[in-house]
Amino acid sequence: MNALMSLFRTWQLGIKSLFLHPMRSALTVLGIFIGVAAVIWLLAIGEGISQKAQEQIASLGARNIIVRSIKPPLEKLGDSNVAEFGLLRKDFNLLVNTIPQIEVAIPIREMKISFSFGNNDMDGRLVGSTTDYFNATKLKLAKGRFLSPADVDKNKDFCVLSMGIAEALFPHDDPIGKRVYCPTNQTYYEVVGILRKRTASAGIGGSLAAQDYSRDVYIPITTLNQRVGDVTRRFQSGSFYAEKVELHQATIQVKTMDDVLTVAELVKDALRTQLESGKGDIDVVVPLELLEQAETTRMMFMIFMGLIAAVSLLVGGIGIMNIMLATVTERTREIGIRRALGARQGAIQRQFLVETITLSIVGGLVGVAVGLLCPVTLEWLRDTLIENFPEEMASLPAEVRETVPIIVPISIPVSFGIAVLIGVIFGMYPAYRASRMDPIEALRHE
């Protein structure tokens, strides 16, 4: 208890001494506070970016393996007028039939096309798939129903609209029961359901481009194959483009997460010939692997940012030591007086060490406070930048523009702890110097 009181008094004395030179004390604190705030901010920004990336990946489904068809560059397509590429139905069936761990496999075929109803029309995407698609992608109904297995079996001309298309084509009416028209194919599809808004996903890796789901119209893949052959033609910019694609994507859902990597290998094995053909027309994406990679990246990023911030804290510490050495020299007389009045060397050492640690604690606290303000500040900064530099901001990639920093909880006690430690370490030498002064010399000083 006595020791505690004595420490308290030493600290009281320290505070008074620091207030003798408030400006100098404030500037010393600055170094530490910037270091601490930097640690918290940098880690928070990094965490925000990582989280976003991980969310994107997770939205693809941790139990999924996605086989995606990619249009190769012109050189690789050969001489035919028709660009033929992508996953073949026979291979799809092979996967489904030979890998028991697969819970469900969803075939997807897409085409960009325009839709109309009455006087309204809209460019969108016709997506052919199965009932499982809706479950696997966790879509939510706004109205009506999903496509049913019967629809798929019987090649029904039913469709499910995404909210964007629904609003564009049916601004005033209820779409359910109405028939949407595709001018290009001259086909009608009766609306059986409307989906709730679905968040767009950013691109992840080369094979999964960013998708905007707001203009999708979902019909049974069987219907699509029946109505539109494997070859699709488009007229664009004065030329015809023909593509022969059987499947644009196969989403394979594995029964348990443990099996994902095994199944991924099996899938890659089964498709090895096509994967290694050099045509580059299919890709196997395993979100789980991506997640693990993202986690590794995140760790490395945190370490890297942490190191940078640690360096800045170090610099702050050197600043503290410099200032304290100057302070000790300036207070030589005072040290002499105190020694003459009975201070032991240890007492002098403690006095100056307490002063330095007080400075670093204050710096740490201010740093933590400013660090916690990171999300708010960045929000304000983002809004201000968007207001004043809209074009520049729009040109930034979405990840950077929309990143929300997430404070990493452990960064707070760690950076604060390091700040205090810095105070101790860099305060020891000045305190030592002070305590070793000869009282007689010190009293003669100045």
Partner: protein, 292 residues
């Protein structure tokens, strides 16, 4: 025989420099009994500062013994000396040496702070001492808000707070004007009358004149150790001319009447030497016994 505040026995200090050894103090022996009021004088190089540092336990002697009360301090280590300073000695410096960040009451308590003993009781005592030296109404003033004389009063109060064996004053009035000097010296006299032991290191005769005994050093030895009247007689100086009382004026007249040179001629007024005894040492040394 009453108690001894300080005893030095063949106390000496040598400073070993690169090229030579300086024998600053060559073995001095004296007692200061409790309640005494001693002036220590001497020209530069006499060992005055060295003796001051030893009496203040700021330095260790090279040989000899030094007792504070009954405690032998000659062989203490640094921590031991620090403790002695906080418990047994009261310092008064020429330039006051108060601590800027602390107010009057806090400054007074500093020695107790280093004994580890600061509490409500000590604070009360400090306030009492502040009142005693005439600063009761300035307890929370900081040194920057005090005059030189006021600061010195705080220093004096501080020098008493730990009930020391003696107050060690080093040119305590050196930075003060003559009026304030007189006030401070009166304060010292008051304290001495109450029984406090005071050792005053000074080079001014008029300050020494207010003490009860004068020890003079030269070349590291004690040249003389006399009660004030005999010292004054020997070294031909009188009390300071500022405001002498009737008795004091009589003393001055008597002294003047008795002042003779060694070859028997009486001395005129102008030749009464005031302060600085360095030029009047053609007389033979007079050994005087000091009785209790």
């Amino acid at each position: 025989m009453s108690n001894i505040a300080v005893r030095a026995e063949n106390l000496g200090k040598d400073y070993v420099l690169k090229s030579e050894t300086v024998h600053a103090l060559r073995g001095v022996t004296f007692d200061v009994p409790e309640g005494d009021y001693v002036a220590i004088m001497g020209p530069s190089g006499s060992g005055k500062s060295t003796l001051l540092n030893l009496l203040g336990c700021l330095d260790r002697p090279s040989f000899g013994e030094l007792y504070l009360g009954t405690e032998n301090v000659a062989t203490l280590n640094d921590n031991g000396l620090s403790d002695i300073r906080s418990k047994r000695i009261g310092f008064v410096f020429q330039s006051y040496n108060l601590i800027q960040q602390l107010n009057v009451v806090e400054n007074i308590q500093v020695p107790l702070y280093y004994q580890g003993k600061v509490n409500r009781t000590t604070r009360k005592r400090a306030i009492e001492l502040a009142g005693k030296v005439g600063l009761g109404d300035r307890q929370d003033h900081r040194p920057q808000q005090l005059s030189g004389g006021q600061m010195q009063r705080v220093a004096i109060a501080r020098s008493m707070v730990n009930d020391p064996y003696y107050i060690l004053a080093d040119e305590a009035t050196g930075n003060l004007d003559s009026k304030t000097t007189d006030e401070i010296l009166c304060l010292f006299e008051e304290l001495n009358a109450e029984g406090k032991t005071i050792i005053m290191v000074t080079h001014e005769d008029e300050v020494a004149a207010r003490c009860r005994r004068v020890i003079r050093l030269r070349d590291g030895h004690i040249e003389s150790d006399l009660p004030i009247e005999q010292d004054r007689q020997k070294y031909h100086y009188s009390m300071p001319t500022t405001e002498l009382s009737e008795d004091e004026e009589e003393d001055v007249a008597v002294t003047q009447a008795q002042a003779v040179t060694s070859d028997g001629f009486s001395v005129d007024d102008d030749e009464i030497v005031m302060g600085g005894s360095s030029d009047s040492h053609d007389e033979p040394e007079i050994e005087v016994e000091i009785d209790e």
